[in-house]
Structure formats: C-alpha cells, structure tokens
C-alpha cells in the first residue's frame, strides 16, 4: 500500500515537472513565432492561462455551484428561489451566529492589533527580546483544537465552595466574596471567552508582523523627532503609528478573515451551545446534522459576500503600494 502510494507520488511529481518544462518550452516557441502585434496577447494567454484555469476549477466553479445550491431545497433537487435566505433571516439560530460573527470580525482584529502592537513595542525595549518574542509566538504553532482543549481546562467551572479546577476561576475566587463564573455557559462571557482563546493563538502572529513593520521604520526618523523634542509617546503616536498603518491594515484584514472562518475553537469549546454559534459552525450543522444543502450553501454565500469587501480592500492596498513604488 505505502510503496504503491510512494511510487505514484514520485511519478506524479516527475510528470508534473516534465509537463511544465515542455509547456514552458513550447509556449516560448509559440510566442516568438507570432507576429509582433499579437505577441502581447499570446504571452498573456499562454503564461496566465493555466493559473486562471486552475483558479476557475478549484475556486470559481465551487463558488458558483454553492451559489446555485443556495437557491435549491435541502436535497438540491428543487428550485426554491430565495427561500433559504428568507428562512435564514427568520431562523434564530442563524441570526445569532450572524450576530456572533459580526462580534468576532470587529473584536478579533482590534484586539489582536492592540495586543500585538503592545507586545511588539514593549519587546523591542528589552535585551532578551528574541526570547520574549519566541515565547509569545509559540501559541501560533498550536493547532486550534489543542488550543480549544487547553482553554476549556482554563475556563473549567466548579460550583462555589468546591475546589476550582479551572485556572481562571481559581484566580477569580481567590478574591474574597467572588463566586466562580461559568465562562462558557454565561451568555455575557462565553463569546468573549472564545474570541479570547482565538486571540491567544493569533496575537503572536500579529506581533511578528507588526514588529517587522516597526523595524522597517528608518532610525533617522526617530532620531530626528527626538532631536526636535518629541516625547516617546508623541514619537509613537505621530511618527511610528502613521508609518505602520499599512502593516496594521494587513494584520487587521488577516484577522477579520480568520474571525469569519472561525470554526475549530467554537466547535471544540462549546459546539455552539448557549448562543455561541458562528457562521461556520452554523453552516456545518445545517449541512451535516440537518442535512440541508440549500441553507448551508446560503450561509456559505453570506460568508463569501462578507469576506469579499475585505479582500477587495486588501488587493487595493497592495496595488496602491505597488504604484507608490
């Protein structure tokens, strides 16, 4: 079994290399053989064509089929128009997941930039900077499922009076008169707890990017500002922050996308109970528990529409930067 797989893999890799090589050679020859006025178009077609084709097959195709399915009934047989969308708009569970996803999209980017920036700026000022950064970056390497399990232990609840096995409740109840909190059941804390767990896995990533951004600000600028009598806060607020803005945008859009596709942490920690469903878990339930392809596809479409503006904005920022060069 394993050896056949290995042989197949090797054959596939070699075949891919050979085909690419032949394609490059033949493409080059084809273009140089063309009349000069057609060369531009030919080059674009030959070199970009395969990429466009692959994107069409793996991305555009499924997206269109999802869009189509969202207009059909649960089994995908009968056309029902916008019924799935209107049902979704009247379904408490889906509305709550929509509300939660909005909460995620707003708070995760803001929090991760705030925490990441604070860590980047502060870590910059200590001698053992690389150690601090490595430690803070560690959670990024932990899978979301493991993070979810870890945080479930951290947030464990035991009734008042019993020994608190959850770290957070052990800390909280150390304060006299404070009763333990059922973090994952209490509706005022559970969504925040889930976002917090995600933040823990992502803040290190934000820190690394922002730290690189900070590093790229020329030292002369800070020096000049200091000579002009700027305080450290003014230096940060008036010089570094504006120069860092494009990096912050990158981090924020990344986090917004992570927030929109949040699934694992929620699935592991609450599975959407007590009003913690997000769009992705709600879609999963519609698809695999309720077996309703139509509604699941409608939720997927809503998700896709929500991500699109962020991606368009991201691309625009890149373009502007490229032109500015």
């Amino acid at each position: 079994m394993v050896t056949t797989r290995l042989v197949q893999t090797v054959v596939a890799v070699v075949a891919l290399a050979v085909i690419s090589g032949v394609y490059l050679k033949a493409g080059g020859r084809l273009i140089s053989g063309m009349p000069t006025r057609l060369r531009g178009v030919a080059a674009a077609t030959v070199w970009v064509g395969p990429a466009v084709l692959i994107v069409a097959i793996v991305l555009v195709g499924p997206a269109l089929s999802t869009l189509r399915l969202s207009l059909f009934d649960g089994d995908g047989d009968e056309f029902v128009g916008a019924e799935n969308y209107t049902t979704a708009a009247g379904n408490d569970e889906i509305l709550i997941s929509l509300r939660n996803s909005v909460l995620w999209v707003v708070s995760l980017p803001v929090l991760s930039v705030a925490v990441g920036l604070a860590m980047a700026v502060l870590a910059d000022r200590v001698r053992y900077e690389s150690v601090v950064k490595s430690v803070l970056f560690l959670p990024v390497a932990i899978s979301a499922v493991a993070a979810g399990v870890i945080w479930r232990f951290m947030l464990d609840y035991r009734p008042p009076g019993a020994p608190q096995t959850g770290t957070l409740n052990a800390i909280v109840t150390a304060i006299p008169g404070v009763t333990p909190v059922a973090w994952l059941v209490d509706r005022t804390t559970n969504n925040v707890a889930l976002i917090g767990a995600t933040l823990w896995t992502q803040a290190g990533f934000a820190m690394v990017i922002l730290s690189a951004g900070l590093r790229s600000i020329p030292g002369e600028l800070s020096e000049a500002a200091r000579l002009d009598g700027a305080s450290e806060w003014q230096l940060f607020r008036r010089i570094k922050l504006p120069l860092l803005a494009p990096t912050i945008v990158v981090v924020m859009t990344t986090m917004a996308v992570i927030a929109l596709k949040a699934f694992d942490i929620v699935y592991v920690m609450t599975n959407g109970a007590y009003d913690t469903d997000v769009l992705a878990t709600s879609m999963y339930k519609q698809l695999f528990s309720d077996r309703h392809q139509g509604r699941a596809s409608a939720i997927a479409t809503i998700l896709m529409l929500a991500v699109t503006p962020i991606m368009v904005y991201n691309v625009r920022v890149y373009r502007r930067e490229a032109v500015g060069r």
């Binding site: 009734p159 059922a182 494009p246 990096t247 592991v268």
Partner: protein, 486 residues
C-alpha cells in the same frame, strides 16, 4: 517605504498561508480525534481532546483461568468467523468510545485480532452523526461503524449505504444469537442493518449505600421527589447530582431520561408513535415527561451546584460529588454503564457496598415493569473480507460473553447466561431486564439525526430555562416535521 510595506505584506501572506494550512489540519484533528460519544463514553474531562485513534491491543488474556478459557473460545470463534484462516489486513471502525470504555471494548476485539491477524483501527468521535455523514458523502466511509445512533444507520440503510447482515451473517445465525426484538430494532423493512454489540439498561438511579438514607425501592416517583425535597430542606444538602456536558453531544443525559420517563409514563405505544414522528412534540404527554424530569433537574435546591453546574459538568464526572467528603449529593440518574465509569473514577469503591443502584420508580402504575434499553450496534458499510469476519465474530456467543465480562455492558447475545456477569451490577441489571414486563429501545437513538441532536440540545435549554418549555417543544416539533418530511 512602499517596497518595504509590500515585503511585509508578502511575508504576511506567507504566514497567512501557513496559518490556514494549520487550520485545515486542526479541523481534521477535530473530526477524527475528539472522542467521547453519545450513550457511552469517556470517564474524564481530560479525554476530551485526546487521541483515541489507536489500534486494538493484542493479547488480552487476563489472569483468571475462566477468562483465559473465554478468550480462547473467542479466538476459536473469531477464526471460524474469518473462514478458518488468518486473513490479516485491517478494518477501520468508527465509533463513539474513548478512554477506559474504549480499552474495555477493544478487549472484546483482541481475540479477534489475535486469531485472524486483522488489525482493527478504532477511531472515536463524540460527533458521530456529522462525522459519519461527512465520510459517507465524501466517498470515504469507514468499513464498520459502532454506534448507539440506530436512527442514523436506518437512514443510511435506506440510502443503500449499509450491507444487509441477513446476507452477511445469515438470518439463522442471527436468530440463534439475538432475540427477535433486538433484531427487529436494528432492521428496516427489508434489511438488517446492524448487529447489537452492547446493551445498557436505562433509567437507573445510582447511590452510595453508606451515605444515602432514602428509599431504595420507592413506591412511586412522587415518593422519591418528596424524599428529596424533605432531605434538602432538613440537611441543606442537594440530593441529586447531574452532569450534562458531553461536547458535541451535550444534553444527551437529560434527553435519555426524559425519553425513559415518556416510555414509562405515557406507555410504549405512545412512545413508539413519538419516536416515529407520528405525534407532535407539543403533545401533553411529552410536555409532562419534560416536567417530570424538571421536578429535580430544574430545581436549584435539589441539584448539586444548581443548574449551572449541571450544564458545565461532564457527564462522566456527574456522580463524582457523591464521593466528596462530606457527600455533596446522594443520587445520580444514569444507565448501567455509569457503574463502570464511577468505578474507574474511584478505583477503591467496592461495588454493591459503596455503590449501588435501583431502577427509577414507577411513573405510571398502568405501565409498571416497563424498562428502557439502549446500546450500540455494529454496521458494515464496506464489505471486505475483514469487515465480514468482524461482523460474524460480533454475532457469536463467545464475543457476547466477552462483552459481559468487561463489567461495563450487558451482552445482547441471547445465548449468554446471567452467570457470566462477574459484575454484581450487570447481574442485577440482567435480572431486572428478565423480570421486566417489556423492554423498549430509547427513542432518541432511533430518530433521524437532526431531531436527535435537537432533542439533546433541548435537554440543555430546558434545564437552563424551564419557563420556556412551550417554545422549546414547538421548536422541536418544527424539526420533527422537517426531519420526517422526506
């Protein structure tokens, strides 16, 4: 400046790619490696995220000679099931068990592996409804499924995804080893889709004889609740403890008991109409069953730590407070398998002395002696030499007695005598079953998946907000209408 930011952007994209790859992997982790199940699962909180995808250990022979004889007999039976030769190879098995329960279940399979050379790759998940559906739709079904969710297997059987065991094992062999009612429970109109591997007697109330001073044979449910209220008022100790948390399947312990109450309060006939989707959830009988459960479960003064604790406590730790010093509760409602879980949590307990059970008292004199059962079935999705051998093995009395020998489950095999139960609980449970005027399968294992999951969820909702029972029931009825529509 522009160039630098662009570099940062590219770096960000690379990292993003890495992150999203990580996400893919972890979601796969979550589907494959989260154990814990629906009717019978992990003993500790800690098992929640641990990996349970382990091959069965070989060589399970215990020290007692009778055990050795049992194992040898099982090996012979396994070899016969495999057509008399060591086939080798492997069989994938998707189930809901984890932790020590899984270890014990694998003990039943160990002689099979030993004798046939077949490796059983058990994969445990508490989210079997969704996982199995994904695997089947993705064209990658496990060879064998071991599940308490008969309703889902019936759905898959109707879609032609499940192998008919009448062909594979043979109707005669089935009839020789299982009671007609068990065979019928795991059948659709035209095929047998599963063979029972374990059976649990439901509706039991566990207690610590050293601490509990209430009636052990209460004449009615009202009498038991009456005692609970008086005890709570007199001692200030909450008599009951409840644990409803179970990951993706949270709420099932509540649903199981409501199911049991409905069966014994409204009668088997209504109960069957109910799980077949023929009567609305808004019927007064259903409402009454919920309210009967609520008499203790929604009463803050009767349950350990109140409702919040019931909701957050993992079901496997549900009875732990009975053994804290001093006890924080005296009674815990759960099926037979809970005895094994409590014994795993507190290895020093002596069964019968420090832990015992009595069947929940009569809810309605009209249906006295009716008991509820649940259990797991083995179904074959991929017919291979190995999976066929496994199904045949599980239908033998030798495998059946090993199930009983685990001390966790009753054996479904009708050739297995009550004497094989070394465990006093199981022996008594099997007596209770024999004396029962009728035993009926729990409805929440037989319903369509969507309704089962909504029912479990409703257990949490009702305990949290008992005042909203009417809305909860009409919500469930909407799910029923849709689930039975096709």
């Amino acid at each position: 400046m522009g160039r630098r930011t662009r570099t940062t952007g590219v770096a960000a994209c690379w990292l993003l790619l890495a992150v999203s790859c990580g996400d893919d992997e972890s979601s796969r982790d979550s589907t494959e490696d989260t154990p814990e199940g629906t009717t019978a699962v992990v003993p500790t909180d800690g098992a929640d995220g641990s990996v349970s995808s382990v091959p069965a250990s070989d060589g399970a022979a215990g020290s007692a000679p009778s055990e050795e004889a049992q194992v040898e007999a099982a090996q012979a039976a396994a070899l016969e099931a495999a057509g008399g030769e060591e086939i080798g190879g492997s069989v994938s098995l998707l189930g809901v068990l984890g932790g020590e329960e899984l270890d014990d279940f694998l003990q039943v399979l160990a002689p099979f592996e030993e004798a046939t050379g077949i490796t059983v790759e058990y994969e445990g998940t508490r989210d079997i409804g969704a996982i199995l559906q994904t695997r089947v739709e993705g064209g990658n079904p496990p060879d064998v499924v071991s599940t308490p969710g008969l309703g889902q297997m019936a759905e898959l059987a109707a879609q032609g995804e499940v192998v008919d065991l009448n062909d594979l094992i043979g109707a005669e062999q089935l009839a020789a080893n299982f009671s007609p009612s068990l065979i019928e429970t795991a059948s659709t109109d035209d095929q047998v889709y599963g063979v029972f591997s374990t059976v649990n007697l439901g509706g039991l109330i566990w207690y610590d004889p050293n601490a509990y001073d209430g009636p052990t044979d209460p004449e009615s449910w009202e009498a038991l609740i009456q005692w609970s209220r008086e005890k709570a008022a007199a001692d200030g100790v909450t008599p009951w403890c409840i644990g409803l948390e179970s990951g993706a399947a949270s709420g099932w312990p509540a649903a199981d008991f409501i199911d049991d109450i409905l069966l014994r309060q409204a009668g088997p006939e209504f109960h069957e109409q109910w799980w077949r989707g023929e009567v609305p959830w808004t019927a007064p009988e259903v409402k009454r069953a919920f309210e009967t459960y609520g008499e203790f479960a929604t009463d803050e003064t009767l349950t350990y730590g109140g409702v919040t604790t019931s909701l957050t406590l993992n079901f496997a730790n549900g009875a732990d407070a009975m053994y804290s010093d001093p006890p924080q509760c005296y009674l815990h409602q759960q099926a037979t398998f809970m005895g094994g879980i409590i014994a795993s949590n507190f290895p020093d307990l002596e069964p019968g002395v420090d832990l015992d059970f009595f069947p929940a008292p009569t809810f309605n004199p009209e249906f006295e002696g009716i008991q509820s059962v649940s259990g797991e079935i083995i179904s074959i999705l991929n017919e291979t030499e190995q999976s066929t051998a496994l199904a045949r093995y599980m239908a033998t009395p030798e495998a059946g007695s090993l199930v009983g020998a685990t001390g966790r489950w009753l054996s479904p095999n009708s050739q297995v005598e009550a004497e094989i139960y070394a465990d006093p609980f199981l022996r008594r449970a099997s007596e209770v079953l024999q004396e029962a005027s009728g035993s009926h399968y729990l409805g929440n294992a037989l319903m369509p998946t969507a309704l089962v999951e909504a029912f479990w969820q409703s257990g949490l909702d009702y305990v949290e907000n008992p005042d909203e029972l009417d809305q909860i029931l009409s919500g469930l009825d909407e799910v029923r209408v849709e689930a039975y529509a096709d």
